[in-house]
Each structure stands twice: as C-alpha cells, then as structure tokens.
C-alpha cells in the first residue's frame, strides 16, 4: 500500500502539489490523469523520492520513502530516459539491473519472456546503444526495466506515449497479466483516456496539484465522466 500523507510541494511562487490524503491499496491499478502541469509527474517523483516534499511524506508498504531505501527493492519505475544508462545496449542494461537486483541470467530471461512480443525483435540482441534507439524503443526498454526486479509496485509515466497502436495493446495485456500473476500495484499516468480507463480500477483526476475527482467503477462510466471534464463531450 502507498500512503500519501498531507504532501505539498511548493516552489518559490507557486504550489504545484497539495494532497492531504491519498491511499493506494495493494493490487490496485491506479490511473492518474490531468492536464499539463496538473502535477502528475511531480507526484510520481515524490513517491520515488526523486524530489523532496515541502511538507508531509509518502509511505510505501509502511516505509517512509525519504527516510529509508528498502522500498526500492520492490518498486519498479520508468518516468523518463534519465532513468536509463543511454550508453549501454539494451542487453547490457538488463544485465546491469540484474546485478543490482541480484538476479541470475535465467531470472532475466524468465522476466523478459513476456516482453518478447512487445520488443518485436528490435531490442534484445541489438548492438545499438540505447541513445541511438527510436523514442518508442527507448520507452520499451524503460518499461521492461521497471518490470525486471520482480517488483510489487510499478510506476509508469505516460507509458503509451510514443508507442505504436499494436505496442500499446500489447503493453495493456502485459500490465493486466502482471496484475493477475504477481498481484502488482500499478500507478500509471496517461493522457490516453481510452487506455487508462480500460486498465485502471480507479482513476484520480488532478487539477493544479489538487485531487478533484477520485473514481472507481466500470471503465465506461469513468471514461464518460473524464470526457465530460476534458470537454470532449
């Protein structure tokens, strides 16, 4: 379970995030939506302790994220390409992560097996460095890396962006599979209302750093409500 407890984030002249309380129970697929600048990425960065909060704190399975680092063992994330080592080939990067997570070569193969379809033969075995891959393929490497450490919590920022339609569908299947097989908790931000409502059990809508809607229910219902907010209908 992830608990966000009276978290605010202020910069000199503005408050970018203000969440009094938000709990994400285990095995939930949590979708985060909102317009640009709503604070989605900021929230993810705070959950990952990449930026400090101004007040409040975040607990991940009971660990306060800014105080301990144990939670990193079971938390996988891909927010942007800074999380990669762009001078390695994808295979080298996976090997490096295996070392960090203490996985064997066989473990890596098992963990990456479900990604075979998503990779489409363009990731494994290539001699190209990550920095020379296309944006979509870089994203695929990052997402696979987030899954690699056998995590129980996975954060993905805009995972569908830059992926082609068939890759988007494959990725959705992967997320649903991991939810069932490993009872993973997912936190996913997206602008793609169709996809995010389809996979999420719950959707939270951010506006200017505040939670203004917290929805659970059928994906059709959530999608309709969101489209109303975003002015599509």
């Amino acid at each position: 379970m992830i608990e966000i407890i009276s978290v605010t984030k202020k910069y000199v002249d503005s408050t970018v995030l203000d969440i009094p309380k938000l709990e994400i129970p285990r095995n939930q697929c949590f979708g985060l939506v909102g317009n640009n600048g709503a604070g989605k990425t900021t929230l993810f960065r705070i959950i990952l302790d990449l930026i400090p909060t101004t007040t409040g704190h975040v607990r991940n399975e009971g660990h306060i994220v800014s105080k301990t680092e144990e939670w990193k063992e079971f938390t996988g994330a891909y927010l942007d390409e800074h999380m990669l080592l762009s001078y390695l080939t994808p295979d080298e990067y996976f090997e490096t992560l295996a070392k960090i997570y203490n996985l064997s070569a066989e473990d890596v193969e098992v963990r990456l097996e479900p990604f075979k379809e998503l990779f489409n033969g363009e990731i494994r075995g290539t001699k190209k460095y990550i920095r020379d891959l296309s944006k979509g393929n870089v994203k695929k490497v990052g997402i696979a890396a987030a899954f690699l450490g056998n995590p129980s919590v996975i954060l993905l920022d805009e995972p569908f962006e830059n992926l082609d339609p068939s890759s988007q569908i494959k990725l959705k299947k992967l997320i649903e599979q991991a939810k069932v097989d490993q009872s993973c908790t997912f936190l996913i931000s997206s602008h793609d209302l169709d996809h995010v409502t389809e996979i999420s059990d719950r959707i939270v809508l951010l506006e200017k750093g505040k939670v203004i809607k917290d929805m659970k229910g059928s994906s059709e219902m959530m999608e309709q409500e969101l489209k109303k907010y975003f002015g599509a209908e």
């Binding site: 990449l50 999380m83 080592l85 090997e95 992560l97 070392k99 997570y101 920095r131 450490g149």
Partner: protein
C-alpha cells in the same frame, strides 16, 4: 557475463560487487562517449594534445631541480620552491575550477534503483579522484623530491604536496557544485588570483613567505603530511554532507539558480526581424551555462592587453606597430573569437525553427552579425582605459574593430559552416569539446594572417599609419558590401541545409 551474474551472498561482497559494477559502467561510458565514437581523427587530435601537455610537464619536472640549482642565488632551491608553492596551488585551484568535472550528475540514472544513496555518493566522490589532474602534482614534483631533497624527507614532502592537491580536489567538489553556476564563482576566483599575484608582483606582501614554513617543516617531519590528511578528511566529509543534502534531481539540474529577469536588449528591436533574432540570441547566450561562460571568459580575455602593452620589447616598434595591431584584432574580437568559433552550433538544437521560417536562416545570420557588432563595440569601450599606454591604442582598436566587423567576421562565418557540429548548451563550458572540430583549429590562421597581410606591406613600404589606413579602408569596404558577403554564407547554408539540419538532429 560470468562476473556479472556471479552469486553474491554476504553483504560486504555485495557492497564491493556494486562498486565494481559501477566502476565497469563508468569505464564503458567513458569509452563510448559520443565525442569519442563520432570521429576518430578528433579523438586522435585530443589524445595527441593530452600527450603533448604531459610531455611538457615531464620536461619541466626533470628540468626543475637543475634550473633552481643554477638560478637561485639566495637560500637553497628547496626553500625557494617552498616559498613559491602557494602560487602553484592557487593556479591549481583556478584550473581545477574550470576543468574538474562534477561527478554527481550521473546520480539521476541510479536514484530509483535499490542502491544505497550514501554508497552511490561515496563511490562517485571517491572515483572523481581518479583523474589526470591528480597526476599533475606527482609528475611535476617527483624528480625534485628525489634529486634535490632526497631520502625519506623527499618522500614525506612529496606526500604532503600531493595530499594538498587532493585537498583542493575535495574542496572543489563542494565549491564548484555550490558556486560553479554563479558568475560570483568565476569572478571571485579571478579577483583572488589577481590580488595575490599582483600583491606579490608589486611587493606589498608575499603570501608565499607566510606559508613556506609549513612546506619547509614537511621535509623534517611527518606532521604537515598528517595535517593535510586531516584537512583532506575534513573537506571530503564536507563535500559528502553537501552532496547528501542535495542529492535530489531538482538540485542536480544545473543552470537553474541563475536567471536574468528582464534582459532584452531593447535597442536591438529596431533592426526588424534580424533584430529580433539578435535579441533571441542574446537570451540564448545569457540563459545557457556554456555560452554564458564563453561570454564572461571573453571579458577576462581583455586583461591580456596588460601583457601586450606592458611589454617593452613589443613597444620598441613605436606607438603603432604590428604587435599592437594584432593585440587590437585580438582584444576587440575577443567575443567574436570565443563565440564565433562555434557559430551555428549554438543554435543546433533549434535549427529546425529557423529552417521553418521565411528567410529564417538569413535573419539568423544577420541577427548574429548585429549582436556580435553590438557586443564588440561594448568591448571596444572597455578597452579605452588602455590609452594609459598611449592614445594610439584607441585609434588602433577602432580600426581593428572596423576590420573585424568588415572582414574577420565573414571569414569566421564561412569557415565555421564547414561541417558544423551539434552541441548541448546546458553542459559545462571550458574543456567541453562538444561542437569543436578541425575548423575551429584552422580558424586561428586566417584570423592572424589576414590583417597582417593588409597591414604589413603598407607599414613597411610607407609607414605604420598607412598600414592602419589600409586596414580601415578594407574594413569599411567590407562593411559596405556586408550584405553581399553575408549572402555568400547564407547561400552556403542553403546549399547544405539538409546535411546541417540532419547533423544537428544527431541523425547518424
């Protein structure tokens, strides 16, 4: 593969394994750096340059004992060197400020992984000590410590000096991270060095004498070595705490602290579209670390004038002479030379923007021309105090400015359009060779030769003022035909626009 997947059980071996892994990654990163892999010739040139510097160091190092032996009249060579060591460390502090790399940016790739933050920071800080900079002291003073001092005294003395150099490294880790982005840093350092060297030169007080006993004592006792080791530990601890406190990605990103608010140069807007481009270019310069440092360094270059004008040997040729003309070209062109050598590369990330505008490339070039003229003119005003060395200097500098804006600038533009390279403006300034290619090396040749080709024949056959007149005439002609000359470069860009744009987009 084997060692990467080796089974690791105890926590100590995991700790060491992690350090080894991080070290392997660093090695891969170094040999795979973009600059290395893009051009073989370029890496050969850089390697050659580094070898050359180290060869020079060796030469000085082995010469030092004998030079001091012969030339030091009062006191021993050892006490003489000890009294000058502080100046060496001052210089070391300055070059470390510019060259030493901050290891910490790499952190952002690891922060989300289960590696302990303190281990990561410790590793990065300790690794940063492995650098050619750390060797300089050893190379420079090893022969002296063996030949002149000798024995255990020499070993302990060298150890002390080496530890002092490491203290500077640890100090710089903190200093540069904290002040590196601020102008205060550069100017503070410049001030410090001018104050101490100036004071020693004019004999007000000699800080060298003040600290000499410390190094003197180092040849007799291990206490100074111990003291410097303690200082090293203290400064390392200081850097460590500072980095731990600031290890969030928002504090890692550079250039954030430094912002000009209202920094449009209103006067430029009078020149239409090109003026707008000039204005945008000015903001580009002020809002990026690399360009900003180039700008301030070009201001520091103006101090070279003291060297040029103060030297009696140079002034033997009369108030107007070839050296002073060269100095004029160099001083009034200081920003042109610094900034102009990477002409289009400054805009490499935004080149598609200009491609997309009607007459965008032409306006960009005109804008740069206007801005360079404007800044060069300001620089001319800054050189006015040099009339202390004779009013002719102002005359020479005005003529040189006209020549620079009429002719030199076009030569620069034309040459830099030969395979311009992309670069990342947010990365550091000095010794960051991104964007630099062979063209930048060759540029210095026309820069020095062309004005002299114009000046020398007239000054030799008639007199120095005739030479100046010729320079002015050619310069004015260049100004009159500015559009024609500029169009040559515009056409060159138009012809190669697809190549340039694709190289800027880093498409291979």
């Amino acid at each position: 593969m084997g060692f990467i997947f080796g089974s690791i059980n105890s926590s100590t071996s995991k700790f060491q394994g992690m350090n080894r892994l991080l070290f392997t990654l660093w090695w891969k990163k170094s040999i795979r750096s973009v600059a290395f892999s893009r051009s073989l010739i370029w890496s050969v040139v850089v390697a050659f340059f580094i070898l050359y510097i180290f060869a020079n160091l060796l030469l000085i190092a082995f010469g030092l004992p004998f030079i001091l032996e012969e030339n030091v009249k009062s006191g021993t060579p050892i006490s003489f060197l000890n009294s000058k060591l502080i100046y060496f460390f001052l210089i070391e502090f300055i070059y470390r400020f510019f060259i030493q790399r901050m290891p910490i940016l790499e952190m952002e790739h690891y922060l989300h992984l289960p590696i302990r933050r303190s281990q990561l920071i410790n590793y990065l800080l300790i690794r940063s000590f492995i650098s050619p900079l750390s060797l300089i002291v050893l190379i420079l003073f090893l022969p002296f410590s063996i030949i002149t001092i000798g024995g255990w005294a020499g070993v302990i003395w060298l150890m002390t000096i080496f530890t002092m150099s490491m203290v500077l490294h640890a100090m710089m880790l903190w200093f540069k991270q904290k002040f590196g982005d601020a102008v205060v840093g550069i100017f503070g350092i410049a001030l410090l060095s001018f104050a101490s060297f100036g004071a020693a030169y004019y004999g007000y007080y000699e800080i060298g004498i003040l600290v000499a006993p410390f190094f003197e004592y180092a040849t007799q006792s291990f206490i100074p070595a111990l003291v410097s080791l303690i200082a090293l530990a203290a400064f390392y601890y200081n850097a460590l705490t500072y980095y731990k406190k600031n290890s969030y990605i928002e504090s890692l990103s550079s250039g954030r602290k430094f912002q000009f608010r209202n920094n449009s140069l209103g006067i430029l807007s009078r020149f239409g579209l090109a003026g707008e481009m000039a204005n945008a270019e000015w903001k580009l310069i002020m809002r990026h670390k690399k360009s900003r440092n180039y700008f301030f360094i070009s201001l520091l270059f103006l101090l070279y004038g003291i060297m040029f004008y103060d030297d009696p040997a140079i002034n033997r040729g009369g108030p107007v002479n070839g050296f002073r003309v060269f100095a004029g070209i160099f001083l009034t062109g200081s920003f042109l030379i610094q900034y102009g050598q990477l002409f289009l590369s400054w805009n490499s990330s935004f080149f598609d923007f200009y491609m997309n505008r009607k007459y965008g490339v032409k306006a960009l070039l005109e804008g740069k021309f206007i801005l360079l003229s404007f800044i060069s003119f300001v620089i001319l005003l800054l050189t006015v105090p040099y009339i202390y060395y004779g009013w002719e200097i102002l005359l020479i500098n005005i003529v040189c400015l006209i020549f620079n804006l009429g002719i030199t600038i076009h030569i620069f533009i034309y040459f830099t359009l030969w395979k311009p390279k992309p670069m990342d403006l947010t990365k550091g300034a000095l010794f960051n060779y991104e964007g630099v290619g062979l063209a930048q090396f060759l540029l210095i040749i026309p820069l020095m030769i062309v004005p002299l080709i114009v000046y020398l024949p007239f000054s030799i056959l008639m007199n120095a003022y005739a030479g100046l007149g010729a320079l002015a005439l050619v310069g004015v002609t260049g100004l009159i035909f500015r559009d024609t000359l500029l169009n040559i470069s515009v056409n060159k860009i138009q012809k190669n626009k697809y190549d340039i744009a694709s190289s800027f987009r880093q498409e291979l």
